[in-house]
């Protein structure tokens, strides 16, 4: 690990977030890539890949539900934890801190919308 590295290093395949766990923080990827996986009974559905500078586990900041997916390191990655308490205290003082997170979430909702549209277009063909 280089001297100036901040955060925690995860090796290939190491789990960063377990689906179903309670969450009280979000993460920012400092280096490397991670995959988001939905565990459905014995099946693993890959929902996406996130890379350097991106947030993961951000829903735990705003809701009180359990983690909705598992996040696993793809190769070596370095991840910084952002505590819910620290983040919310700052948002209380400076609501604009949440703008970036809202932008990211809004972008992801847009992506999901496009995905739903794509799947709906596939359905009639399946019929």
């Amino acid at each position: 690990m280089a001297l100036g590295e901040l955060g925690k290093t995860y090796e290939d395949g190491q789990i960063i977030i377990h689906q179903g766990d309670e969450g009280n923080c979000m993460y920012v990827i400092q280096e490397g890539q991670v995959e988001i996986i939905l565990e459905n009974e014995d099946q693993e559905i890959k929902l996406g890949v996130r890379g350097k500078g991106e947030f993961i586990g951000e829903m735990a900041i705003f809701d009180r539900d359990v983690r909705s997916a598992t996040v696993r390191s793809m190769g070596r990655s370095r991840i910084l934890t952002v505590d819910k308490k620290n983040f919310m205290r700052r948002v209380h003082e400076d609501p604009s801190l949440a703008f970036r997170l809202v932008e990211v979430m809004s972008h992801r909702i847009r992506e999901l919308g496009e995905e739903v549209t794509r799947l709906q277009q596939l359905l009639p063909e399946a019929d």
Binding site: K8, N86, R90, E93, L97, R100
Partner: protein, 453 residues
């Protein structure tokens, strides 16, 4: 430039005096916010320093600790500090007292504190391996669209109710807003004496910072990735720390009238000697400085079309000065774009951030008085040490003292939060029990021995 409006509109011009963290972060946030609002601003940053030059010429002189909370907040803002700037990730604090040492680990076993140099490093540096922290933020501001004018500001004029900034060999340039981020060490404070604003310069005290070259390997062997802090009963010494960086360590002292005698008394203690190679000659120093720090903020750090941020406005007492620069810069930037640049706008939307910091500092002063009493009493130091050591050994226990010390040393939490935690009856009962145990035990140093082992 807009003529009379106190709002920033398309084409409005902002002059930022000082390109340290406060000035650069203000520029980044004001440009980001303006872009979100669809407003096109021009931002000029006046910074004479060249952050690529080692030694005082490229350094803004401070201990160079980026606190745990600031590292997280910057990451949430999209500013992830690179390894080319952070000289060492810190994952623990080692508390040194005459009665023993104890290591306090970061709550998540994660490196969340950054040790940086404000410039590229001390004056005798042979090879520049890391970049300047201030230079990194200034580059980010330039990437957002700010323009850097590498000149010292010579004069600030006021024409048609607008500030004008003049450098030595240039014509005055008019602005809709002047943002002042000059710290407390700059002679530039005299620039504002003739202006019709009620700005009072902050009250300051002198600190002492000395750099020593030990080399990467020796630092890893002796200091590791811990910041070393000292609670020693030395008159006039408030707080002391040794911060490991790349090839150097920074020794930082805070206290009253720090002079050579105080520095020598500190350096000669066995606790400090244990942080250096055996028989280390303290004359083998690199560079040193005695920067001033803000200990009581400006009463009214704003006026019409002018705002003072960072150390030149209000900062946190003793700790997390860069964190306070971030908070004031962000608050001034959002106020300017979303509300306006009149004194009323700053009073209503910017000053609450300053007041919150100042109110918290009042509690901080009280906390430091209590710390001083512990520093002076060996039985209290033994109790603190044993309680902390026990908590660090038993990871299942609630680390009440460890968290109080962690947040006091790192500046990660507001002093008010720390104070509230000390009001817990369990905190006091555990501390009194540990004081009692160590005082009445024949080998009362068991806690310290445990910790030192």
């Amino acid at each position: 430039m807009t003529q009379d409006s106190m709002q920033l509109d398309d084409g409005s011009r902002i002059g930022v005096i000082g390109g340290g963290p406060a000035g650069s972060l203000f520029s980044i946030f004001v440009l980001d916010m303006a872009q979100r609002m669809g407003v096109n601003l021009q931002v000029d940053i006046y910074e004479p320093r060249d952050y690529s030059k080692p030694g005082p010429i490229g350094c803004n002189m401070c201990g160079g600790i980026i606190s745990e909370s600031l590292v997280q907040n910057l990451a949430a803002e999209g500013i992830n500090l690179p390894t080319s700037v952070v000289q060492r990730g810190i994952d623990s604090y080692m508390l040194h007292m005459d009665v023993g040492d104890v290591q306090i680990d970061t709550p998540l076993q994660e490196k969340r504190i950054g040790a940086v140099y404000r410039g590229p490093g001390p004056r005798d540096i042979k090879e520049i391996k890391w970049g300047s922290f201030d230079g990194y933020l200034l580059d980010l501001a330039v990437q957002r669209g700010a323009n850097v004018i590498q000149e010292r500001v010579d004069e600030i004029l006021w024409t048609n109710n607008h500030p004008e900034i003049k450098v030595r060999k240039g014509d005055p340039l008019p602005y809709d807003l002047a943002t002042v981020a000059i710290g407390v060490n700059a002679a530039a404070r005299k620039l504002f004496n003739h202006l019709d604003i009620t700005y009072e310069t902050p009250k300051t005290t002198k600190t002492f910072i000395q750099e020593f070259y030990l080399g990467e390997e020796k630092i890893a062997e002796i200091l590791g990735s811990s910041m070393h802090v000292f609670l020693l009963d030395i008159p006039r010494l408030e707080f002391a720390a040794i911060i490991p960086k790349g090839d150097y360590v920074s020794v930082c002292l805070l206290g009253e009238d720090i002079d050579k005698e105080l520095v020598t008394n500190f350096m000669e203690t066995p606790q400090v000697r244990s942080c250096f190679p055996i028989n280390w000659d303290f004359e083998c120093k690199s560079c040193n400085c005695s920067p001033r720090i803000n200990i009581a903020g400006s009463k009214r750090p704003y006026g019409d079309r002018i705002v003072f941020i960072g150390d030149s406005g209000v900062t946190r007492l003793y700790k997390d000065g860069i964190g306070a620069a971030y908070r004031t810069a962000k608050s001034a930037a959002t106020t300017s774009v979303l509300h306006g640049v009149s004194a009323d706008d700053f009073e209503k939307h910017y000053y609450p951030t300053c007041r919150k910091i100042e109110n918290d500092n009042s509690i901080g002063k009280m906390m430091f008085i209590v710390t001083r009493q512990i520093q002076k009493r060996q039985f209290a130091r033994r109790g603190v040490l044993k309680m902390t050591a026990d908590e660090q050994t038993d990871k299942e226990s609630i680390p009440r003292m460890s968290m109080v010390l962690w947040d006091m040393f790192t500046g990660s939490a507001p002093y008010k939060d720390i104070f509230i935690r000390t009001l817990n009856p369990l905190f006091w009962s555990r501390l009194l029990l540990n004081i009692g145990t160590t005082s009445f035990s024949r080998n009362g140093g068991s806690g310290s021995q445990l910790a030192s082992e």
